[in-house]
């Protein structure tokens, strides 16, 4: 049994390996992009809207409001990054209903890549909002003595993001695979449904935590700096 889709290699040339993670990711990217193009091709700015347009607007506005509720006032600035994270992870989880499908988020490489994206996006957005010095000062809060702990916190939460998503998605697939061998009729269906819920929850958690990290990096804390 292959724990990670990384182990399914379709093509390799030295260091370069085209495995199932990459292929599925590309398919998903193509599906998301193609679906977006198709859905937004006949989008109407005035007049009656199609059901697909209503669905898209509902999803987008839901993500925007979630970001705003976390504290990011300029939610639309962070929408592409956080929204893409949520849609990618949620799509990966939803497609587990397809037999033989291995979600790319079940690969530690993918989750670590996403966590690293978050790790680098947080300072980028922080510097964008507060400037370079303003962002660096956040590591000295509440006292400069906290600098090492803040750095460790940055790394540990990135690691937590990656491992949490990987563990949940991989375990779900593993549980279904094990149960298929033990009770192949109804139990795997229930576990797949549970895996759908778990995947959606993980997508939500990943996106919300990303928003929280960006929010903490982009918002200054004058009460902390004031003596």
């Amino acid at each position: 049994m292959k724990i990670s889709p990384d182990q399914t290699i379709f093509w390799s040339n030295g260091y370069i390996k085209i495995n199932a993670t990459l292929v599925v990711t590309w398919l998903m990217m193509a599906a998301l992009t193609g679906g977006s193009i198709l859905a937004t091709r006949k989008i109407r700015k005035n007049g009656p809207r199609t059901r697909m347009q209503n669905f898209l607007e509902m999803i987008v506005l839901l993500i925007v409001r979630q970001i705003e509720s976390i504290g990011l006032v300029k939610a639309r600035r962070y929408l592409p990054f956080i929204g893409s994270l949520f849609l990618f992870i949620a799509s990966s989880a939803l497609l587990t209903i397809v037999p033989g499908y291995q979600p790319p988020t079940g690969s530690l490489s993918t989750t670590v890549a996403l966590a690293l994206c978050v790790l680098f996006a947080v300072p980028v957005f922080g510097i964008w909002e507060q400037g370079f010095s303003g962002y660096l000062k956040t590591y000295l809060q509440p006292t400069p003595l906290m600098l090492p702990f803040n750095l460790i916190g940055e790394l540990s939460r990135t690691l937590a993001l990656a491992v949490r998503l990987f563990g949940n998605m991989m375990s779900g697939v593993m549980i279904v695979a094990v149960l298929l061998t033990l009770a192949p009729l109804f139990i795997p269906v229930l576990m797949t449904a549970l895996g759908l819920v778990t995947g959606m929850v993980q997508a939500y958690i990943f996106a919300v935590l990303t928003a929280v990290y960006i929010s903490s990096a982009t918002q200054s804390h004058p009460e902390r700096r004031s003596p």
Binding site: I3, L22, T33, S84, L85, S109, T110, L116
Partner: protein, 267 residues
Amino acid sequence: MLFDWFTLLAQIVNFLILVFLLKRFLFKPVLKAIDERERKIASSIKDAAVKMQDANKTRDLYQEKLEDLERQKAERMQELAEQVEQEREKKLARIKSEVEHESERLRNALQAEADEFAQGFRRQLGHAVMDALEKTLQDLSGQSLEQRMIERFAGKLAEEGPLAWQAPESQGAVKPIETVRIVSTWALPLQQQITLESVIRSQWPGLEAIEYETDPAKICGLSLHWGSLQLNWHLDDYLASLHDCLDSLVTLPEAQSKEQGASDDKT
């Protein structure tokens, strides 16, 4: 190994590409559509607010105009009511005047008619009475009545004398007696002529002649003519007195009705 560096780098690149693609083909068009719609809704709301403001201004303007019209209407109605009242009073006064004038005219006409009727009635009554009396007297007249008339005429002449004679035109001085003319209804018998001449001559000793004439129009009586003076004794005098009495009897109710009409007008 669960971790592959190439896959990790590739996934980072893949994710960044996915972010770009979704931003380009999903988030941006959807947000643009939403913004456009919200902008249009906001514009519509703003236009509606402006239109509402204009409508409120127009409504206030028309409300003021309506109030002005109501006020003008009330004033005009008041003026019209006053004019109607004045016109009504004028017409009432004119109609009252016309009615009074017409009533006066009718009353006068009625009075004239009543007077004419009364006059006619009196005339006819008088004529009827006179005709009846005349006929009665003519039927009753005879020697004895004529004799009595002569005696009465002679007695009157003896009592009053020539100075009591009345001139039909003026009281003149007594002229010297030359001729006396006696007019009677019927021819006087000789005996009566003698009686009458004796009385006349006793009153006028220088009398030269006495002439006798008849006038059937006279009713049972005698007239003595002396120049422009004359002495009459006729039943015409009595009949005239009777005629006056009948007139007073007929006209009395008319005078009373006139007085009653005048008192009604005053009330």
